[in-house]
């Protein structure tokens, strides 16, 4: 019955400033705090510059989660960090596009593509 999400945090070999969060399941108001507590710690982490949110297996988000993502984006930007959305499925992209989040948060169809962008950005 309860809404369930699992969030896995992955590092990228030789790129300690890059963190990848892999979301699986659904997020709504009932479990947003569980999800946000994991993400907030990394946003505060001074070593992390790039945060990739892998939404490939994320099945559901609502306006509360969108509000949180907007807040994450603002906080991260203030701290000079980059947030990227990767591999979001059609349903998630549909809602992100509707609310305009895709115009402020970079999004990539594959993780590899996002990582290339990160690497290029790091070299500059």
């Amino acid at each position: 019955m309860a809404t369930v999400v699992t969030i896995e945090l992955l590092g990228l070999e030789n790129y300690p400033s890059v963190k990848v969060f892999v979301f699986k399941g659904q997020i709504d108001e009932s479990n947003l705090q569980e999800a946000s507590s994991k993400l907030d710690g990394i946003i505060a982490d001074t070593e992390t510059r790039y945060i990739l949110l892998n939404f490939k297996e994320l099945e559901f988000i609502n306006s509360k989660v969108i509000g949180y993502l907007a807040s994450v984006y603002s906080t991260a930007s203030e701290k000079g960090k980059k947030i990227m959305i990767v591999e979001a499925n059609e349903g998630i992209m549909d809602i992100l596009s509707l609310v305009g989040l895709t115009t402020i948060i970079d999004h990539y169809p594959t993780l590899e593509e996002a990582i290339e962008v990160v690497k290029t950005d790091m070299e500059q």
């Binding site: 309860a2 559901f60 349903g91």
Partner: protein, 268 residues
């Protein structure tokens, strides 16, 4: 405009039931052959309405939230009511003003105010807010069925791969293709083919509706007129259940792959 279906549910005002409500709405929309895109959208609409009723219209989980879904010939209505015991003591007019203000705030980075003003506004064909007889607010959102229901041309795109012995018909899901001739074309092609042995490959289908079942039956009938044979391959469990339910698997053999199908077709 007669009422086709009405469902009413009373739930505790507890956000842990959000998932239950979403899944219920999703299942109901699948029953009426709604498109997956719209199933996802309307599940979110319902989630937003339920969340508001719990958060603003209810004091705790001992309260109830009342959901009514009404499906008419033309539309689906979602009505959600709360008991008005929550912190929010807004009138319907005051809530409408807040929604209007949220619509005018186009800041993309805003952290709230998207539920009713963006999601419900954009993904329904209108919603109204009125005083509920349960004590709180009643929000009624309407969506026209014409936009959300599958039509045959939405669902099927077919290619026919004629082998020396048999013809393989590949059905694939292709949403939002507005080619009204697809079904007729397929029937015409099968009628015209100089083959009597057919394999219906359903591997690419995620779901089927009553229109598709009708189409399968028509194609089967055409093959029978030719005194031919048909085998279905690559069925998902869900589609198999549906075909079992309507009895099509009693008349058309189902096997797991192409090789098995050929063996059956070429066996006698």
């Amino acid at each position: 405009m007669g009422t086709k279906e009405q469902v009413s549910i009373v739930l505790p005002a507890d956000l842990r039931f959000s998932n239950t409500i979403r899944n219920f709405v999703g299942d109901l929309l699948r029953v009426i052959d709604a498109k997956e895109l719209w199933i996802n959208r309307l599940m979110l609409v319902m989630d937003e309405l339920f969340m508001n009723a719990v958060k603003y219209g209810s004091k705790d989980k001992t309260d109830n939230v009342f959901l009514t879904i009404e499906i008419t010939e033309e539309s689906i209505l979602f009505a959600i009511e709360d008991m008005g015991t929550g912190n929010s003591k807004l009138t319907p007019d005051e809530l409408q003003k807040i929604i209007q203000q949220s619509k005018e705030d186009t800041s993309l980075a805003k952290t709230s105010g998207r539920g009713l003003s963006v999601i419900v506004s954009n993904w329904t064909d209108g919603f109204s807010i009125e005083k509920s007889s349960k004590g709180g607010m009643k929000v009624i959102a309407k969506k026209n069925l014409a936009d959300i229901i599958e039509t045959p041309q939405d669902v099927q795109q077919v290619s026919i791969d004629a082998m020396p012995e048999v013809a393989i018909i590949n059905f694939s899901q292709k949403l939002d293709v507005h080619d009204s001739d697809v079904e007729k074309e397929m029937i015409k092609n099968v009628e015209a083919m100089n083959k009597t042995l057919y394999i219906f490959d359903l591997e690419s289908l995620n779901y089927i509706n009553s229109v598709f079942i009708g189409l399968l039956a028509k194609l089967y009938g055409i093959v029978m007129q030719k005194k031919g044979k048909v085998v279905i391959i690559n069925l998902s469990d869900t589609i198999k259940d549906t075909l079992n339910m309507v009895g099509l698997t009693d008349i058309i053999p189902v096997v797991s792959n192409l090789e098995e199908a050929k063996k059956i077709l070429l066996s006698s």
